[in-house]
């Protein structure tokens, strides 16, 4: 049967965000030699414009939702949700980078081009319906992120972070690829819904062992990408070493995209062997929460603390995955959005106080921030309360929906342990508030520069988002619940 591989106009439209971002990224690289010295801020402005344009592209793709390129891509509510999320993260990441790049006197052209490519890869990942496409998207996103992690090439910690991230990341990708290969061997396809159909076929019963192995291998690869225990060891070092805006970006966008494919692969392709992988996820969730929270208790470096906290939050989202239900998927989507907002906001404050060369990123450097810059301190307080999970913030509803889904799936003990974990977590988030409000201002907060417009926006946007999700969660959750059904 002749197959027509030429893309239709709908196909192109469904692929619009990736096209826009790739073109914009290329354009930035072309413009780089011309404007790098004269107008360093231009590249930031352009990439924000590209992200916004890509959001329109996403909306346009959503208006013609459906599969594209012979089922390699699928534009559904789930993909659209995550596309919007990673694009939004991209915008905030750019906003929080202006001041940082200026302070470090770093080149801005390549930085923003890499950022655009990374987000393009993530957009591709979340819309992929085929293991090969997932892999390509993941690699586009990862390679750009590896370089970003070591962007300040004269900084030793940057280099260490990038190398560590790259070596461990490629190793993990190997696991993922091996899993894909095994699946292809058993089922003869790499398309997610066809894998599912093939596994549902009783004729394939004997090969289930290999399928389980494949699922386990892919679990290792994806577990690394979402920094879930026991594959989390890279995260603290990398987050601490990488430039702060890149850490903020890494902790949110690639993670959200990785969770999206995690959900899609395990709930679509591996639905049939769910009883086999559920215990794995269960254990990984509990380990991530516990290791993340308890390790964060003793950290004095803010970036490292936020890294451990991001491991713990990955644990909460894994709880939602373990629930294996539509509500669980919706809860994970909601949580990723809420988490991205509060984490970006908290990182923006870290970028603000870190100073040239990131010399002041310790917890004690926040001392007296409440007195010297009450507005900044207030915003960080809101983000921290959201990370703790106090009501009226997005973080609370995120936790609430996740644990609701977990209880509905009879994961009562995981819920109880998870909630107790979140009480432990309160301690280290509270410590920051203690230092900010209850200690006398130190050298850092006395000499703090005023908030630049870019950073202010990078805090205010997440602040509005956090409150929006905390007071009116219905809008986002409703969309997530409608889209969660597509993943099965």
């Amino acid at each position: 049967m002749p197959v027509n591989f030429a893309p239709s106009s709908d196909d192109l439209l469904r692929f619009a965000p990736e096209i826009i971002l790739s073109l914009a990224g290329t354009l930035l690289m072309v413009l780089d030699p011309l404007f790098a010295k004269k107008m360093p801020k231009l590249f930031g402005h352009l990439s924000i414009a590209a992200f916004i344009l890509a959001m329109f592209g996403t909306a346009a793709a959503w208006s013609v939702a459906g599969p594209a390129y012979s089922n390699l891509l699928i534009v559904d509510g789930f993909a659209t949700f995550f596309r919007f999320l990673v694009l939004g993260i991209g915008i905030v990441a750019v906003l929080s980078s202006y001041r940082y790049l200026d302070r470090e006197q770093a080149e801005t052209g390549e930085y923003h081009a890499l950022l655009l490519f990374s987000v393009a890869g993530q957009c591709l990942m979340v819309a992929a319906n085929d293991l090969i496409m997932i892999f390509i998207g993941l690699e586009i996103s990862s390679i750009a992120t590896y370089i970003l992690a070591g962007y300040l090439r004269n900084d030793r910690r940057n280099n260490e972070a990038a190398l560590k991230y790259f070596l461990l990341g490629s190793f993990a990708t190997g696991f993922l690829l091996y899993g894909i290969a095994l699946i292809y061997g058993v089922t003869g396809t790499t398309q997610l819904d066809m894998i599912r159909a093939s596994l549902a076929n009783p004729a394939n019963m004997p090969s289930f062992t290999i399928v389980r192995v494949a699922a386990a291998l892919m679990f290792v690869g994806l577990g690394f990408k979402v920094s879930g225990a026991p594959f989390q060891v890279w995260a603290p070092d990398v987050y601490q070493g990488a430039p702060a805006p890149v850490s903020a970006f890494m902790a949110t966008a690639p993670k959200a995209a990785a969770f999206a494919i995690f959900l899609r692969i395990f709930l679509t392709a591996f639905q049939q062997i769910a009883t086999g992988w559920e215990p794995l996820i269960w254990i990984s969730a509990l380990l991530s929460m516990t290791i993340g929270n308890f390790a964060a208790l003793t950290q004095s470096n803010l970036k490292r603390m936020l890294a451990y906290s991001s491991i713990a939050h990955a644990g909460y989202i894994l709880v939602a995955l373990a629930a294996r239900s539509e509500i669980g998927t919706a809860a994970a989507m909601f949580y990723l959005a809420a988490y991205a907002l509060m984490n970006l906001g908290a990182f923006a404050v870290v970028i603000h106080i870190s100073g040239k060369g990131e010399r002041t990123v310790n917890v004690n450097d926040l001392a007296g921030l409440g007195k010297r810059q009450p507005l900044t301190a207030m915003m960080l307080t809101v983000f921290l309360l959201s990370l703790i999970g106090v009501p009226l913030t997005g973080g609370f509803f995120g936790k609430f929906y996740i644990f609701q889904a977990a209880i509905q799936s009879n994961l009562v003990w995981l819920t109880v342990l998870g909630l107790l974990n979140s009480a432990v977590a309160a301690y280290y988030y509270l410590r920051l508030m203690v230092v900010m409000y209850m200690h006398e201002p130190g050298e850092v907060s006395n000499n703090l520069e005023p908030l630049t417009p870019g950073l202010r926006l990078a805090m205010v946007l997440p602040l509005i988002g956090t409150f929006f999700l905390g007071v009116m969660p219905g809008f986002v959750l409703g969309f997530a619940q409608r889209s969660a059904g597509f993943v099965k």
């Binding site: 009501p391 009226l392 609701q404 209880i407 301690y427 203690v434 969660p473």
Partner: protein, 515 residues
């Protein structure tokens, strides 16, 4: 928008507006927050006048959908118990603002704004009829109190604030798990619907489930009460908090725990509540005696009052788990009494601290000769606190003891020890502080009450006498609601569908007669 919603809205708006006042305008912030809290108080009196006794169920109800999926309602309403607790909150907030007038000089705006936010949370907790909404307000209360202790407290304020937050948080996450479990079983957060379902047998739990759910709620409330041995955060929090913080903490926030026990634990999990009552009562009695004994040896006045709270709250728990009409009435009445008299003690101790900058009993002596009016007011409050007839605590303690005697006389014997001991520690402290030689640093440093301080304390003294003599102002509404709680708590599983047993009217009538 009805009156009750207005009561939540006004301080919320006040909180936001107060934060917008420029930093230099300290006096404006004080006046503004005082005005807001006074308006709230005056309006809250409308709840009392508008409350129709004889009507079962909540009043001033407002029920609208907040979040559609899962369906979470903005469902508020009051009954006889929450009515008085809300008025207690609105009554004490202006007083808390007044006593901090001079004391708080640092970050004035935030302090007074937080007091209003605290008021919002407290009114919300007592008014919420949706489990989810209840949890939201429960947590909202936590944040301002954390900052009140942590920023404006004394030396070890950070330790106390963090301990306070973590204790409460640990308890409340368990409650959240239980609430979610209930939701998945019942399909709703609406408390009235859940109660109805439990009463009609539509919502059933296995024995194990009911016990675990009960414990999850109970631990969250017991930490807040605080019940022995979960009380250790309380002395720290009280000693380190500024006076206004201690006042709100002791007078209203501890009542969130006991209120939760009466409102949720008894009606929702009747079987488990009755089965677990024996050991809970043992803990309550230990708390009564232990709190009193520890209070006796305290060298620090604030700590003494804090431990006396542990003892007093033990009485309340005893009354609740006696499962008698009188015990429950006494418990609820004692919640209000404790709010008034212990609140007054904290205020007075705060006045003395502002003068002498010490909380140690040994730094005082002979205050009665220097500041006679202060001493007189302190004496009245002390007498109220130890339960002298004609003053408020007597009524509550008497009812609780009588109720517990109906259930089990042995309990009463031990609990009554607490009454005796409270006389010992309070009077002994009074003697050491106010009589004897005029201590060093007391003469000349302790002026008598000024106008603002009179304005703070007189309303409380009036309430002590009023609640001691005119109990009928408060008790009918309380009894009615308690009778209903008691009836719900009588519905153990086999009897759940058909209800023999006495009707509400008979219980209420009987109780009124016995009184």
């Amino acid at each position: 928008m009805n009156l009750l919603e207005l009561l939540i809205l006004i301080p919320s708006l006040g909180f936001i507006l107060a934060l917008l006042i420029p930093r230099s305008q300290d006096q404006a912030v004080r006046l503004f927050t005082l005005t807001v809290s006074l308006i709230t108080f005056v309006l809250s009196l409308g709840l009392a006048t508008g409350y129709q006794s004889g009507q079962a169920g909540q009043q001033f109800v407002s029920d609208r959908i907040w979040i559609t999926n899962p369906e979470i309602h903005w469902h508020v309403g009051i009954d006889g118990i929450s009515l008085w607790l809300i008025i207690l909150s609105t009554f004490l907030t202006p007083i808390a603002i007044l006593i901090s007038w001079k004391y708080v000089q640092d970050r004035v705006k935030e302090f007074f704004a937080f007091l209003l936010l605290l008021e919002v949370g407290l009114i919300g907790v007592f008014a919420a009829w949706d489990l989810f909404l209840f949890y939201v307000f429960w947590e909202v209360v936590l944040v301002p109190m954390y900052f009140l202790i942590g920023i404006w407290g004394h030396d070890r304020r950070i330790y106390a604030a963090v301990k306070f937050f973590l204790y409460t948080m640990a308890g409340s996450v368990l409650m959240l798990a239980a609430i979610i479990f209930l939701y998945n079983r019942a399909g709703t957060f609406d408390y009235a619907v859940i109660l109805n379902g439990i009463g009609s047998g539509r919502i059933m739990f296995t024995h194990g489930e009911e016990t675990l759910l009960f414990l999850a709620f109970f631990i969250a409330f017991a930490i807040k009460v605080p019940l022995f041995p979960l009380h250790t955060w309380l002395p720290d929090a009280h000693v380190e908090a500024p006076s206004a913080g201690s006042l709100m903490l002791a007078s209203v926030m501890l009542k969130m725990g006991t209120y939760g026990l009466v409102r949720f634990c008894l009606p929702m999990f009747p079987t488990a509540a009755r089965e677990n009552a024996p050991w809970i009562i043992v803990l309550a009695i230990i708390g009564i005696v232990y709190g009193a004994l520890v209070a006796m040896v305290q060298p620090n006045m604030k700590k003494l009052v804090a431990y006396s709270s542990v003892s007093h709250l033990g009485f309340v728990v005893l009354g609740i788990f006696s499962f008698t009409q009188m015990g429950l009435d006494g418990a609820v009445y004692q919640m209000l009494n404790h709010g008034i008299s212990t609140g007054a003690l904290f205020i007075l101790v705060g006045f003395m601290y502002e003068r002498r900058h010490s909380l140690a009993i040994s730094d005082y002596g002979g205050v009665a000769t220097v500041a006679p009016w202060l001493s007189t007011v302190f004496l009245v409050t002390t007498l109220a606190s130890i339960g002298l007839p004609m003053l408020n605590n007597f009524v509550g303690e008497f009812l609780i003891l009588q109720g517990s005697a109906q259930a089990n006389f042995t309990w009463t014997v031990f609990a009554a020890l607490g009454v005796i001991l409270s006389a010992c520690y309070m009077l002994w402290m009074y003697q050491r502080v106010f009589f004897g030689e005029v201590g060093e640093g007391v003469a000349g440093h302790l002026p008598d009450l000024n106008f603002r301080e009179w304005a703070c304390i007189v309303p409380l003294v009036i309430m002590m006498v009023w609640m001691g003599i005119f109990t009928q102002t408060f008790l009918p509404a309380v009894s009615e609601t308690n009778a209903k709680v008691l009836e719900q708590s009588r519905m153990n599983q086999p009897l759940r569908v058909a209800l023999p047993g006495p009707s509400i009217a008979r219980i209420a009538g009987g109780a009124a007669h016995a009184r």
